[in-house]
Every structure is written in structure tokens, then in C-alpha cells.
């Protein structure tokens, strides 16, 4: 489709501006001004609406169909939460208002939301205190590793290393490195979880902490997690919980009870806020009591009279990780979601997410290799190794699913599974949807045997075919510049 810039018609006006009701300024300083307006499109409102409506139709979202993208928890995003986030009493609230004298009393409703989410997440995760500031999951990881660093600095510990399993999300090692740590990878054992003995071998006085996802990225719960935590604590290391897979545990098991010291929660996964085509999300971080003093500033507190205030007097805090109080609009959506579900509803999330994943696993295990057999948690990881013998790899199966109206699972992750296909159905999908997906996967497995070329030719139903990614990286075309700037 043509770029919006290429649809521009010189002289065509867009949305009419408010216009000025004051005299034009006389003190103009030409050397501070642009010599020509920025080359933005010149289009009517209808032109713009049609352009983006057309673009939206080239997209696939959860509302379009089944989206079992492993590790991303693409569950249904309730519309009620969208409605709440758009209430003017929240949407029009200026974040600097509580920093003005007397302003705190003008934002009591918003502070109540932040405080109540803190308390709810404490209960759900078994932690002592939360910050709502982190703006995404990886941002939560960075905040968590900064807290690890602050803790050790305060204790006078000179520790240099964070241990991370080989099955971890790439954000874990990247976050640890950005916070100033060396990263050491710990291998998984034959059962697919971090090997307690390999951990023991890697564990020494230099270890500041261990970052783990539970259940891990192959969808398995490490039954020896508490033993691992005890060993890490014995060298004064801290246990970090990557909350990417919390959906499997809601109401069943709390990271705090399993020995974790720091957790981040992805509100855009577990608590149903939209993924937005790549954000915005939110990644609140919770800690055990001994780490609460290191949480970012500010912190919402409650007075005896039930009013709320922002506490900025926190000498050991790691400081600001966001300009204000987090992605408030996302936190608000998640709050609405938790209110709607309640304790019983949250427990049903994990039950149904795990049931759906095991159902898919049971129905497909005869047709695709399952490197770690047995019950999984909220997602199952298959390998396309068998199909690859016929030349049909995970990526080809993904494209064949596209032709069958399904968003593909995550492929080639986790790295420890050859030709990985990571399927996370989520709890909001029905048996009929799962059965249709299973039928499509079986059909592709059949076709990989009988007519592999037909699979390799996919996708055939999309507006474009497979794109040349090598060209994109070798000769990057990252922006359409205005002719005179190009």
C-alpha cells in the first residue's frame, strides 16, 4: 500500500485548527525558526481515516482470531477496561498535579488506584511491597537488577555476576548486563529445568543474583525451586522472578512463597491489558521486606485518615526509573480486570490456561515431537524436528498456519529446543477454537509428509509473500525522507 506521504496533495487541509484569538507575536527571532514546515502529509480527515482503516485490515489481533504466541499470553482484552481508562477523571489528569502544593488532594482517586494495585499484587505474588513505575516487562527486569545492585552496595558486598538459565528470555541477560553485571549462563537438565547441581557449581561469592522464569520457557515448573533459592540465599544472592509466565500460577502458587526476593509482573500478559502492537505494557516490581527501602521513588502511602500521599523521602531508593508513577492507563485497566475476576476468577485463569495447553499438547503429541513429555503448565513447546527431515521447518509451519487463519506460535524460542514451536493458548480460548487449531496442525503435519512443497509455498492468502529480510538488513530503508532532505 502507498505510504501516507505519497498520498499527500499539496494545499489540501487536514483537521481544522482552533485558530488564534490573540494578536500575533511580534518578537519573532528568525534564526530560531524552521525555514520550511516539516513535510507531513496534506490530507483530508477522510483520507487519513481510510488510510489507517486499510492498514488495520492488514493486521491480525486477538480480536481477529486465535493468537497462541508462546510467552506473550495473548488473552482477550476486556472492553470494560478500555472504557475505564478513558474516563476523563483519569485520562485528563496531569502527572505534575500532586507535586504542587495542595495538589495531592486533587489526585486521591488516582493514588487510590496505585495503592490498591500495590496491595493486590502483594497478595497475588506473596511479596511485601510493589512499585508501579516500570513501563514494561524488560523495564521491570532492569529495575529489579538495579535493586539487586543497591542491596549489595548497601551490604558492602562486591558481587559481579548474575546467573541466568539457558532457557531464559533474551531480555534477562540484556537487563542484567545493562545494570552493570556480568552474565553467566546455567544449563538446563534433561527434564528441561535449571539443573540444581549445575547451579551449585556456578554459585560462588561473586553471584549477586539468579534470574528465573517459573514455570520456565518450556512450560515446566522446577520442583526444586525452593532448594535453589536456599542455595542462592546462602551466598547472600537474590532470587529474581521473571513474571512472564505468571498466568500459569495465579491462585495456585505465589513466587514469594517459593523463595523469590524480587518479581516483575507483566500487566499486559497476566492481567489482560492490550499488547498494542508492541506496547504500551507495564511491569510492576515487587520485593520482599528487606528490599522495600530500595524501591524506586516515589511510593504511594496511606495515612491513618485514609488519604494517600507520595513519599519522596527515601534515602536508599534506586531513584526514578520512570518520570512519574508508571504507565497509569495500563495499571488502571489491570485494576479493572482484577476487580472483575476476584479471587475465584483469578484462580480459574491458571486452571483453564493450563488445561487448554495440556489439551493441545495431548492432541498433537503423536504428530509433532515433544522434547519434554508429560504435563506442561500454561504453554507447550513442540519441535518440528520430524517435519524438518522433509524440509518443513518451524517457520514453514508458522506460515502454513497463517493460511489457515491462525496467528503462529512463537518459533525458534526457547533456544534449547531445536525447531521450537511454543504454543500458549491462554484461558480465554474455547475448546472449539483449540480443536480447529489442532485440526490445522494435523493437516500441516500430513501435508509435510505427503506434499512438503505445498507447505513451503505458504503463505498464499496474504497481501504479500515472505519478505526479503536480508535485503532489509543489508540495505536498510528505515524512513521516507522529504525529497529535499533525502
Amino acid at each position: 500500500m502507498k505510504l501516507i506521504f505519497d498520498k499527500s496533495v499539496p494545499g489540501r487541509g487536514g483537521v481544522r485548527g482552533v485558530g488564534s484569538d490573540v494578536p500575533s507575536r511580534a518578537d519573532i527571532k528568525p534564526d530560531l525558526l524552521r525555514d520550511a514546515p516539516a513535510e507531513l502529509p496534506e490530507l483530508s480527515e477522510l483520507d487519513v481515516v481510510r488510510h489507517f482503516t486499510a492498514l488495520s485490515r492488514l493486521n491480525f489481533g486477538v480480536d481477529s482470531g486465535f493468537y497462541p504466541l508462546g510467552s506473550c499470553t495473548m488473552k482477550y482484552n476486556p472492553k470494560a477496561a478500555e472504557h475505564v481508562a478513558n474516563m476523563p477523571g483519569f485520562a485528563a489528569l496531569h502527572p505534575l498535579l500532586p507535586q504542587l502544593p495542595g495538589g495531592e488532594m486533587m489526585v486521591q482517586g488516582a493514588l487510590a488506584v496505585l495503592r490498591r494495585m500495590d496491595l493486590l499484587l502483594r497478595e497475588i505474588c506473596g511479596m511485601s511491597a510493589f512499585t508501579m513505575q516500570p513501563l514494561a516487562g524488560a523495564h521491570g527486569e532492569l529495575t529489579g537488577t538495579m535493586i539487586i545492585a543497591a542491596y549489595h552496595a548497601d551490604r558492602g558486598n562486591d558481587k559481579t555476576t548474575i546467573l541466568i538459565p539457558d532457557s531464559a528470555h533474551g531480555t534477562n541477560p540484556a537487563s542484567a548486563a545493562i545494570a552493570g553485571y556480568a552474565v553467566r549462563t546455567v544449563p538446563s537438565n534433561a527434564e528441561g529445568v535449571m539443573d540444581a547441581d549445575a547451579l551449585a557449581e556456578a554459585l560462588d561469592e561473586n553471584v549477586a543474583g539468579v534470574m528465573l522464569t517459573s514455570p520456565n520457557t518450556v512450560g515446566l515448573f522446577n520442583a526444586r525451586i525452593h532448594e535453589i533459592a536456599d542455595r542462592v540465599h546462602a551466598v547472600d544472592g537474590l532470587m529474581y522472578y521473571d513474571g512472564a509466565n505468571l498466568n500459569a500460577l495465579l491462585g495456585r502458587c505465589r513466587p514469594g512463597d517459593a523463595g523469590f526476593d524480587i518479581v516483575h509482573v507483566n500487566l499486559h500478559k497476566t492481567f489482560a491489558t492490550p499488547h498494542g502492537g508492541g506496547g504500551p505494557g507495564a511491569g510492576p516490581v515487587g520485593v520482599v521486606d528487606k528490599l522495600a527501602e530500595f524501591l524506586p521513588t516515589s511510593v504511594v502511602r496511606e495515612r491513618d485518615d485514609g488519604s494517600f500521599y507520595l513519599d519522596y523521602d527515601r534515602p536508599k531508593s534506586i531513584g526514578y526509573v520512570a518520570p512519574f508513577y508508571g504507565n497509569f492507563g495500563i495499571i488502571l485497566r489491570a485494576y479493572a480486570y482484577i476487580l472483575m475476576l476476584g479471587a475465584e476468577g483469578l484462580a480459574r485463569v491458571a486452571d483453564n490456561a493450563v488445561l487448554n495447553a495440556n489439551y493441545v499438547s495431548a492432541k498433537l503429541k503423536d504428530r509433532y515431537d515433544l522434547p519434554y513429555p508429560g504435563p506442561c503448565m500454561h504453554e507447550c513447546v513442540f519441535s518440528a524436528a520430524r517435519q524438518a527431515l522433509k524440509g518443513v521447518r518451524a517457520i514453514h509451519i508458522a506460515k502454513a498456519l497463517i493460511d489457515r487463519g491462525v496467528h503462529p506460535p512463537t518459533v525458534y524460542f526457547p533456544l534449547i529446543v531445536h525447531e521450537a514451536m511454543m504454543i500458549e493458548p491462554t484461558e480465554t480460548e474455547s475448546k472449539e477454537t483449540l480443536d480447529a487449531f489442532i485440526a490445522a496442525m494435523v493437516e500441516i503435519a500430513d501435508q509435510a509428509e505427503s506434499d512438503p512443497d505445498a507447505v513451503l509455498a505458504c503463505p498464499t492468502t496474504t497481501v504479500i509473500g515472505q519478505l526479503d529480510e536480508t535485503l532489509a538488513a543489508r540495505k536498510p530503508d528505515l524512513a521516507s525522507l522529504a525529497p529535499r532532505e533525502a
Binding site: 500575533s24 480527515e45 488495520s56 478500555e82 495431548a362
Partner: protein, 444 residues
Amino acid sequence: MPFIANTDAQRQAMLEAIGVESVDALFAGIPPELRSGPLNIPPGLTEQEVRTKLGALAERNTTGLIGFLGGGFYDHFVPAALDAIVSRSEFYTAYTPYQPEISQGTLQAIYEYQSAICRLTGMEVANASLYDGGTAVYEAIMMALRITRRSRVVVDDSVSPIYRKMVRSYTSNLGIDLVETPSAEGLPDRRALAEAIDDRTAAVIVQNPNFFGCVDEVTDLAELVHSKGGLLVVSCYPISLGLLKPPGQMGADIVVGEGQSLGMSLSFGGPYLGFMATLKKHMRKMPGRIAGRTVDARGRQGFVLTLQAREQHIRREKATSNICTNEGLCALTALVYLSLLGKTGLADLARTCADKAGYAQQRLAQVPGVTVRFPRRWYFNEFVLNLPMTADKVIRGLFHRGLAAGFPLGRYWPEMNNCLLVAVTEKRTKEDIDFLAHTLEVIL
């Protein structure tokens, strides 16, 4: 049960297919001592109850004030067409476009957004978004450290104090030599900067318009820092670029900023949008997602995420950044906003803001006892007033009359206790400005 489709009968059939007795059996891998009892959370509410409850909380917030509060976050008018487009769920219920064939909507929009940011800032390449303007400043610093392989960073103190606090938090553990230079009369002090910039300096960070609202021409600063082999990072307010000279025309190497003003509601601090643009020669050092234009086997134009060899899912601890989920929908919002206003619309809007601020400054300076703090400086839509008493006291007084008069600079600059930072957007009418001036006359 809310948002769960399967019936008890279907669940039973699924358990049979799996070959287990109950859902509990599926959780057998969790040792009994780690299982939690029922959560101590109230029972679920209906949608109607939730709306009532949250509606009541929303009413405990004061949003009806006539606002002159800015400080980097502005109350601009948002056309209805913007919400209509951005609330299409094909956009907002998708995720990162890992499968380009069914994500061309998101991918083309990112490419167009990158293009719009380049055209606005006068730069050559941009990324798909960062979390906010503050983390964008931090990422720009990290990028400059990577490019120059140096360790010193100089930040002018008229850069947002909130962003400077964030940068201090992020870099405190990294062994970086972070220096803040004092501004002089509302602008970066050339003499202090010349002294601070040496051949170990990776980057100089300035903001334009800066936190005091003052507008600068920074070509000389670019030349100064380039002469020592460092980079100039400029943080800017995108609406101002409808009128002001783009940083790219003044020699900036990396341009960042807060994109909230491009159609996002204030929403008590987020979600917002960090944007980043740079020169082509630095594109492989940029953090974050980037969309690129390419072709399929039949030569048809299409878009993909590209230069992924920089990113965490490939490079892990050697990545340029840990960023994964960013602010995709906010970037789309900014693109749609800029498209709806268009070339002349943005220029007109910026001009209107500047005109109204000009009127406001002139009118408020007529109030007895009130003077302009930086009379020699040009400003865009925000400026500093000296008051005959503390700004805190004036702000309290004006709250009672339905006005949010501005931001008290004493909060971050104790010596500026009597200084009020006043912002004016197109939403403030001449009547609003006259009312502020009149009320100020009454209370002073």
C-alpha cells in the same frame, strides 16, 4: 466465570482427552508445600459494578481546572478521528509484528511513524519508540557511550530535572563520569560547557525548548562538542518543531523527546512515548525496534522489523538495549495525530501556541509585582515569571479559584522559590489568560 468460554462439560471432555482425573492433577508438578491457599482478594464484580466503583474514584480527581501546567507534559486538543482510528482492535490487540505477512498494518505504520519523526526533527533514521522522554535521554546516553567508546557525559541543568534524576538512577552503577553544568540566564552556559567538554566526553545533553521554556540555537554547541570528538544529544518537544528550527539542522547527532503532546492524554503519567532519531551512520547502534522497507519474491513493497542483530532476543547480554515491548500504540497515535494535522496544521498549531504564550507573558507581566525571569530569552509556549511571594503560595491561592497556574520551580531549584513556570497551549483562550492575570492581581 468472566472471560472463560469452556463449559464444565467441555472441560471434562478435555481432561479425558489428556487422560487425567482433574485439573488439580495438572498442577502435580508444584510441590504441595509451595501451593497457596485461596487468595485474600474480594469476590469478582460485574462490569457495571466496576464502572461505578472506578467512576467514583475518577470523580475524586480534579480535572476541571483551567490549566497552565506543563513542565514537559501538555494539554493539547485531540481530534475525534484520532481515537476512532487508534481504538481499532486490529491495531491494539496485536503484539510485536513477528509475522510480517499478517502485521503489515503495524509495520507500515511504524515505518511511517519513523519517517514522520525524521521529517519533524530533521534527522535520517528513527526507531519504533522508547518508553518515554526520560528513558529516551538515558538510551541516547548509552548509545553515545557505545559509539564513542568514551565514559564522560555532560548534561546541561536546564534539561528536565525529572529526566536528570532518571539518568542518575540508571547510570549510578555503571562507572560513568556524569557532569551537570549550570545554565546561565535560562540557557546552557557556553563557558561552563567549554570547560566541561574534554576529549573523554561521549555526549553533551541539552533540551530545546528547555525546562524553563527558553529556546536556543545550538549550532555552536554542536561544533564545540564535535571538535572534541563527542556527540550532541538534543531532547525536544515535538509540537514546537512545527515552528522551531529542527535539531537536525543545528548539528545534533541524536534527537530524543517525549511524544505525549502528539495526541496522547496526560493520563497521570502514562502511557507516553519516547522517540529517538539519529544519523544513518549510527543506525546500527540505536536501541529498540526498527521497521524497514523491503520487497517480497514478486517485488511487492512490504515492511519488516530489521537490524535485529542489535536486539536482546538475538544478542542477549550483548544487545544494544534490553527493550522488548515498547510503546507501539503510542507511536501509532503520534503518526495519526501528525497525519490529521498535516503539514500546515502542525505549523499553524505551533504558531497559535507561541502567539498565545506571547500574549500571556505580556499580559501577566503587567500584573503589579510580576516580572519576566529571562527577559532576554525567546520562548515557545512556556516561560518563567518572578512573583513577589513564593510560587507555592500563589498556586494554592489560584487553586481555590479554579486555576492550575503553573509549576513552582522551587521544587527543583531552591533558589527559584518565587518562580512560576507557565505553559500555554491552544486549548487556553484569551479569556482564560485574562482570568489568570486578573485573579493574580486580586491575590497578590
